[in-house]
């Protein structure tokens, strides 16, 4: 089968292929001249090149590092969702405080909403730092998970009178719980690997 190639060229290619196989296994190079044989031998040098012993350990270390990064990814994703939920609530407090107060049937207090909005943005920033940097996932968990769970418990009754707010608090609770569980899972994996 020449697959549309010129049959004489395809024949020469097949002959070269056999010569490569033969030279690689230490035999003669049937049907090719001395210069082609020398070229084949030169190109085959790489095949006899063994990796340095340090490479094996280097690749193993790179794989360990890659696996380590991957095992934290789900927890970091949960941290990102939680951070966005905090930032969303912070922005809502700063920009739409009157609308929030009206829906919750409470007195609009600009001073309180401004300060809580700024605090939520700061908290969102800390949790987002954990989403972006593996070493800070623990910080994101410590700072964000308790607040997220507390907001969820406190805000769930809102679902009836202010569905948007209730849904936001529910998402904070789910993300906080997911962050906690995924963090524990990743920690256990890392500890098991370290023990091995």
């Amino acid at each position: 089968m020449t697959d549309g190639f010129d049959s004489s060229e395809a024949g020469a290619a097949l002959q070269l292929d056999r010569a490569i196989e033969s030279v690689a296994s230490g035999g003669e190079a049937p049907g090719v001249d001395a210069q082609t044989r020398a070229l084949i031998q030169a190109l085959l040098v790489t095949r006899r090149t063994d990796p340095a012993p340090a490479l094996r350990e280097g690749v193993r270390a790179a794989l360990r590092a890659a696996a380590h990064e991957r095992v934290w990814l789900p927890a970091r994703l949960a941290a990102a969702v939680l951070a966005l939920a905090f930032v969303g609530q912070g922005v809502g407090s700063l920009l739409f405080g009157r609308w929030v107060a009206t829906n919750l049937h409470i007195v609009f207090d600009p001073h309180l909403l401004f300060e809580s909005g700024v605090a939520l943005l700061a908290l969102g920033g800390v949790v987002m730092a954990g989403a972006l940097t593996r070493r800070l996932v623990g910080v994101a968990l410590a700072a964000g998970a308790p607040v997220g769970l507390a907001f969820a418990v406190h805000g769930l009754p809102e679902l009836a009178e202010f569905p948007a707010g209730g849904a936001l608090h529910l998402s904070q609770g789910v993300a906080a719980l997911a962050l906690a569980l995924l963090w524990v899972r990743a920690r256990r994996y890392v500890s098991r690997r370290a023990a091995k």
């Binding site: 089968m1 020449t2 697959d3 190639f5 060229e9 395809a10 020469a12 290619a13 097949l14 070269l16 292929d17 490569i20 690689a24 210069q35 082609t36 020398a38 070229l39 084949i40 031998q41 030169a42 190109l43 085959l44 040098v45 790489t46 095949r47 006899r48 090149t49 063994d50 990796p51 340095a52 340090a54 490479l55 094996r56 280097g58 690749v59 193993r60 270390a61 790179a62 794989l63 360990r64 590092a65 890659a66 696996a67 991957r70």
Partner: protein
Amino acid sequence: MPQDFEEIYAVHLEHVWRFVRARVPGQADAEDLTSESFARALGAWRGYDSRRGSVRVWLLGIARHVVADWWRQRTAESRLEDASDAVVHGGSEPEAEALAALTMQEVRGHLANLTDRERDAVALRFGAGLKAAEVGAALGVSETAARMLVYRAVSKLRSVVNHD
């Protein structure tokens, strides 16, 4: 790291290393790119489908992309400079090896005359030791087309070596 991937890494390290070594002039760069290839393969391991080809061909496909990315970052000028600095290690017959290594250095200098695809075919066939059918699978072409790529690459190399 999954247990099965540890075994795969242990079995195929040499093939990937030899392919990368054949495509990259510097020993240290080849080591870095080999590590990078396996790190990327680990990330894609869940997506590996054995019905689409052997693990070795799959790994070499990833290594090919890693090497291509590396080359993209370098100019053709630095390619030739690096090639002249290349050193080849290993082997069992010192005198013959020294002679062959010298020739390989000369040949490396001429690899820039090949297309990327031809260089890949040469590295897969000569370096990684794949059969023509496997080279074809790695490059997404037929066995005959893979043989033709190698043949044309060797013919080009022959002609530029002669020209010198």
